[in-house]
């Protein structure tokens, strides 16, 4: 168990100041929120840099912070593949190639794009699974926050849960998406400025970068890998058994880099919504590209602390990670343990506030996306088709209350039935895995039909479940980890991560092939006129000739990719 943290008066003052600002932003924006477009899409008025930082911050929930630091300790610098191979190319792709259709079609949500491009059933399938998923992820995130505060500070679980829920509720209820976006920008700076001193102190303690690499060599050899397994991102990816992730380079590049990352960053409404709120096409396209720059530096902020923590632990310093009941390291305690170890009162309040900020930004991202999908894609399209705008605004506000209450309910459910949560996350993973194939074909192949999109998705989801049922990670028990269809399983993967990547690859391929095949067997219901603005070959390229080359999405995208490649090479 970690040492509890004693907070001083100064730490509470910092926390309270933060809460006041977060709520104040909601209050200040209240009067500007007059129409449903204001509430759900910020009236499409947000400048690119604000949308970009919100794009990044909405995804930066605390599970990301805690989880990536944990992976940094468990797998070393290879964790940065989630950024330099995963996120960055996908963010460039969505900005350069997909945003013209999302923004240009004037769709108000990602499911609504599916309705315009395909049909109602494809939209509803996506809307329902997405809405359910956002409520559950925001609930799980709240549960994690309240548990952590209980463990670290001895705060009452119910108190933390309700207070954080109430604050997010108030600022979204008042100012809608603008309020969420503005707070996400504030939270972004808080996260950076709250964690940077932790990295600074940690690096000094471990003896700088060279000291860190030397200590990580000890970690690698102690775990039976070649020295450097923790400090090189690609050098040991030749075979799955040579690196602690248990993944080989093809599964990494294809599964994570292509299917999973493109699936998330290009189709998840939680992030795409931030770009849709931008004030112009040029700003919308630049949103993910601007987000990509700080995104590729985030490994130094959240993965490096994990590497420092495991390095110091093996070196027998006075910093040590706690152990779990079964004797393995409790990797999720990296950030909390380091905060407690290095931060004196004062800056401790800042670090803790940054942690709270990351929970809130992740939760607000989920709630605002849920609001919009529920109101536009479910309520307006199935329940009350002739709703007035004022009515939709009211529904949006009520949905905020309902969504947050449902999240709180989910958080309590998580305290009772952890297995249900694991099971649901697995189901969502199956539903999401094939999604990118549908969007890719929808945007770049005008022959793709509505029936094909729908049944392609269903078959892709089934393929994901089938693959999961037939395979098992080495050493895992049959059940939630896989292998429930066949004993012994058809194939054993060297790690759970490898199995996840290959589940995604299979789901994508099945959906891709099935959508093409069914498109040829069914008639295209949409006319050319219907598809203008929705499909690549029928849409005029957005022209941005008045901008300097490095300000155009293509130029900026190329710069971002070059930087990401450079990082891959430097940390090879």
């Amino acid at each position: 168990m970690p040492h509890g943290i004693e907070l001083g008066g100064i730490d509470y003052v910092i926390l309270v100041v933060y809460f006041l600002f977060v709520l104040g932003i909601g209050v200040a924006l209240r009067r500007q929120t007059k129409t449903s477009e204001d509430f759900f899409l910020s009236g499409r008025s947000i400048p690119a840099w604000i949308a970009g930082l919100a794009f990044l911050s909405a995804n930066l929930g605390a599970q990301e912070m805690i989880g990536m630091a944990a992976s940094g300790a468990k797998y070393g610098i290879a964790t940065s593949h989630f950024y330099w191979v995963g996120a960055i190319p996908a963010m460039v792709f969505v900005g350069v190639f997909m945003m013209p259709f999302y923004y240009g079609s004037r769709a108000r949500s990602v499911p609504e794009y599916l309705k315009l491009r395909f049909d109602e059933k494809t939209r509803t399938f996506n809307a329902v699974s997405f809405a359910t998923m956002t409520v559950f992820s925001s609930g799980i995130s709240m549960y994690a926050l309240a548990k952590l505060l209980e463990l670290l500070l001895g705060w009452d679980f119910n108190f933390s849960l309700w207070v954080s829920a109430l604050i997010v509720l108030v600022y979204i209820y008042l100012g809608g998406l603008t309020s969420a976006i503005y707070n996400e920008v504030l939270q972004f700076f808080l996260i950076v400025l709250g964690f940077a001193p932790l990295v600074y102190l940690g690096l000094r303690d471990v003896g700088g970068w060279d000291g860190l690499v030397a200590k990580l060599d000890v970690v690698a050899t102690a775990n039976g890998y070649a020295p450097g397994a923790w400090s090189h991102s690609w050098a040991n990816m030749g075979s799955a058994s040579a690196n602690p992730m248990g993944v080989e380079w093809f599964g990494m590049a294809m599964g994570l880099g292509f299917v999973l990352s493109f699936g998330y960053w290009c189709t998840d409404f939680l992030v795409v919504q931030r770009a849709m709120a931008a004030h112009s096409m040029a700003a919308a396209r630049r949103t993910p590209l601007i987000a990509a720059v700080p995104k590729m530096l985030f490994p130094f902020l959240i993965i490096v602390p994990g590497m420092i923590a495991i390095g110091l632990t093996y070196a027998g310093s006075d910093f040590a990670l706690p152990k779990m009941a079964d004797g393995s390291w409790n990797y999720t305690m990296v950030i909390p343990q380091m905060l407690a170890h290095y931060f004196p009162p004062g800056i401790l309040g800042l670090g803790l506030t940054a942690l709270m900020a990351s929970f809130m930004s992740g939760m607000a991202g989920n709630v605002t996306a849920f609001n919009t999908v529920w109101t536009y894609d479910i309520y307006q399209s199935h329940i009350k088709k002739d709703a007035t705008d004022a009515h939709l605004l009211w529904v949006g506000r009520m949905t905020t209350v309902f969504g947050i209450l449902a999240s709180v309910g989910t958080a309590y459910l998580a305290t009772q039935f952890n297995n249900i949560m694991d099971f649901l996350q697995l189901v969502f993973a199956f539903v999401n895995a094939p999604l990118f194939a549908t969007f890719l074909l929808g945007m770049f192949w005008r022959r793709a039909t509505g029936h094909a999109a729908f049944f392609g998705l269903v078959l892709g989801t089934a393929a994901a479940a089938l693959h999961h049922g037939l395979t098992l990670p080495a050493g895992a028990p049959v059940g939630i980890k896989g292998g429930w269809l066949m004993a012994p399983p058809l194939h054993a993967y060297s790690s759970e991560m490898a199995q996840n990547f290959w589940t995604a690859i299979w789901a994508f391929c099945v959906c891709f092939v099935a959508t093409i095949a069914i498109s040829f067997l069914t008639r295209q219901q949409k006319t050319h006129a219907d598809l203008v603005g929705l499909v690549y070959s029928l849409t005029a390229r957005p022209r941005e000739e008045h901008l300097a080359w490095w300000k155009t999405p293509e130029g900026l995208g190329a710069l971002v990719l070059a930087l990401a490649i450079a990082l891959n090479v430097v940390f090879w």
């Binding site: 500007q32 400048p47 690119a48 920008v185």
Partner: protein
């Protein structure tokens, strides 16, 4: 938009900067800084936050008069 987000960001970090710098000065030499490897991290980081807050406030004022960046 009526509210320039740089202003509240600048204000909040400015307040954090004042709080940390003040607390750092008041506790200079205290054993609490053994944790931060002997650095008075509150004072050092407080100054950084003050600078950051100041820049944000300044940008919020300058840009308000100028054209909207696209």
């Amino acid at each position: 938009m009526g509210l320039d987000i740089r202003t509240p960001i600048g204000l909040m970090f400015g307040i954090f900067g004042v709080l940390l710098t003040g607390y750092g000065l008041a506790t200079n030499g205290s054993p609490i800084y053994e944790r931060s490897l002997g650095n008075n991290i509150n004072l050092e980081w407080g100054v950084v936050l003050l600078l950051f807050g100041g820049v944000m406030l300044w940008l919020g004022r300058v840009k308000r008069a100028g054209p909207r960046s696209s």
